[in-house]
């Protein structure tokens, strides 16, 4: 029997689901191995009977919690996809402001209609089995995780920095071009997407294990950023990490 797969979204731009839909050719091959039973972005039917749940988006409201718990109950495997779901993503920035203030700033007069609490990733609410980070996810990595799950292999997300993939791609280092790049402390898996296309890594996949925080700070300040700029740069995507919070 084919595994039944569901996609869910929380606070997000839905770009990760779009990345899946954009797989087009591969998607046809993929649906010969899986049944997609719930995918609001792509279909109208919806079922609560599924094996694997891919979740996009961060958790920003009280009402998200029971919904997530229900998904956890229904699914054998829960896999958050994208920066928002894995680490809070850009949405996590709001946690560096006073909640009421930021709510008023975003929603203005209608703020009272919008319930909100501190942004958190999916794993802060329910246990997750694997994660596919990135803003958006790398479709190739998504495919590789799905293939792994289908053949019963533990998916592996790289535990080395973007520099590795950037070197393998033979790129000129961003610092050689006078640009700032967070690749040295950001988890790889994107194939050094941004540097390969001429712009420095923004850290969307989150930090590697044991990043050398002090040294990275020095690299960034030498490149012309103030310490405050450097912290803000990391907070775009990596605010959830202890190293960046402080």
């Amino acid at each position: 029997m084919k595994p039944r797969v569901a996609f869910f979204d929380f606070a997000s731009c839905e770009g990760c689901q779009l990345a899946v839909i954009n797989l087009e050719n591969e998607l046809l091959d993929l649906v010969s191995h899986i049944d997609i039973v719930n995918f609001r972005e792509a279909m109208t039917e919806a079922s609560d009977d599924y094996d694997i749940a891919f979740i996009e988006g961060s958790v920003t409201r009280e009402a998200d919690i029971p919904r997530l718990k229900k998904i956890r109950e229904n699914a054998k495997l829960v896999v958050p996809i994208g920066a928002c779901a894995c680490t809070g993503g850009v949405n996590f920035r709001k946690n560096f402001y006073e909640l009421g203030e930021i709510r008023n700033y975003v929603y203005g007069e209608s703020a009272k209609y919008f319930d909100t609490f501190a942004t958190r990733p999916v794993k802060a609410v329910i246990p997750v089995d694997f994660e596919i980070p990135g803003c958006p996810i790398n479709p190739k990595e998504f495919l590789s995780v799905v293939k792994s799950l289908l053949i019963g292999r533990k998916p592996e997300i790289p535990n080395h920095p973007v520099c590795v993939e950037c070197k393998l791609a033979g790129n000129v280092c961003m610092y050689d071009k006078g640009e700032v790049c967070l690749g040295a402390v950001t988890r790889a898996g994107c194939g050094a997407w941004c540097p390969s296309n001429g712009s420095g890594c923004e850290g969307c996949r989150g930090l590697v294990d044991e990043p050398n925080k002090n040294s990275e700070k020095e690299v960034l300040t030498k490149a012309g950023l103030t310490v405050e700029d450097a912290v803000q740069k990391f907070r775009i995507f990596a605010g959830y990490f202890e190293e960046v919070k402080k």
């Binding site: 293939k147 520099c163 050689d176």
Partner: protein, 338 residues
């Protein structure tokens, strides 16, 4: 062996001769830097390059290389060998020596790695004598000049190049392009070029040399400098990945979307990366960055010395260039020998 004198026109002739039977790989401009790429025309070659982003190794042992193709359902696998003839053109002496190291590493102990060797045996190496640039330090590790390891070696001699054959194949090629035999004065000009190169090398080990650096490394295992480097190093692995003598690899399986056909691939790996010495059970045998830097520098200067009868490092300077915090083997060795 007899020398030849090649004019620029002759070099062009040489390259077009090579292009008939080889994929010709040569230094070309890539944004602000240079890289070894397959060329389509002679004009793309930059004979004046300083160093390349990645070493020419990438054309003999590619960053990602398929070892086996398999079918899961049948439990069947076939090895994959790529022996497309490749001519590596314009290699500096350091990179030539590095390939000698790889040749040995991939054929030691009767363990012949045919995936590398099949390609290597069909390859041709055309060396090009160089001038030092901001990062290299070849004289400290004994790789200033290439005595062997090339099929043809080109050394600038005035407006032309003095060419020596280092192999039968090389000699045949030089003869086939009807290169003119060199005069003694041409050989002298080449000699002069090399002498000047040697004089211009400023980055050096100040207390040890290629044969004594090993001893220094053995005495400085517990040196406090390793801990100091831990503070700076980002453990990003860039130094490993741009190194012409790093040959460590990881092996990974890929399956296609039919979930049946797949490939077992090897990928360049680096001992500076956190998982390099970590076993599945969780134990990490070089957990700290200081341990990993010590391992890398020792591997380049000491550990493999007895096997290669020389430091493994060839002093190309790519690691320093690639390092965002400029960790530098020359500085390290000089600090350790203070």
């Amino acid at each position: 062996m007899q020398g030849f004198l090649l004019t620029k026109e002759n070099i062009k002739g040489l390259v077009s001769e090579l292009m008939k039977s080889y994929r010709v790989v040569a230094p070309v401009k890539k944004e602000t830097r240079f890289d070894f790429c397959e060329i389509e025309k002679f004009e793309d070659i930059r004979m004046d390059y300083d160093t390349t982003i990645l070493p020419p190794k990438k054309h003999l042992s590619p960053p990602v290389e398929t070892l086996l193709k398999f079918k899961r359902s049948e439990n069947k696998a076939e090895p994959v060998f790529d022996n497309t003839p490749v001519a590596l053109f314009g290699l500096h002496p350091c990179d030539i020596k590095a390939i000698r190291h790889l040749d040995q590493a991939f054929s030691e102990n009767n363990n012949y790695d045919r995936h590398y060797l099949a390609k290597r045996e069909k390859s041709l190496i055309i060396g090009l004598e160089c001038q030092p640039y901001d990062y290299c330090f070849c004289s400290s590790v004994g790789s200033t000049f290439a005595k062997d390891g090339f099929d043809i070696m080109l050394t600038p001699a005035g407006d032309s190049y003095f060419a020596e054959a280092g192999s039968k194949k090389g000699e045949e090629i030089l003869k086939s392009i009807q290169a003119k035999p060199a005069q003694e004065s041409d050989a002298k000009k080449a000699e002069q070029f090399r002498a000047e190169k040697e004089k211009k090398i400023v980055r050096k080990f100040n207390k040890v040399n290629a044969s004594t650096v090993k001893e220094l490394m053995e005495k400085t295992w517990d040196h406090k400098h390793w801990k100091e480097l831990e503070e700076r190093c980002l453990a990003c692995g860039s130094c490993n990945l741009v190194c012409p003598t790093c040959f460590c690899f990881d092996v990974q399986d890929d399956v296609s979307l039919n979930l049946n056909d797949g490939e077992r691939k090897r990928l360049w790996d680096g001992c500076m990366l956190v998982d390099f010495a970590k076993v599945a059970g969780g134990e990490n045998f070089r957990e700290h960055r200081s341990q990993r830097i010590r391992h890398r520098i020792n591997r380049k200067m000491n550990y493999l010395y007895d096997r290669f009868n020389s430091p493994t490092c060839v002093g190309c300077g790519r690691c320093v260039r690639a390092c965002t915090v400029k960790i530098d083997p020359v500085e390290i060795v000089n600090e350790l020998s203070k």
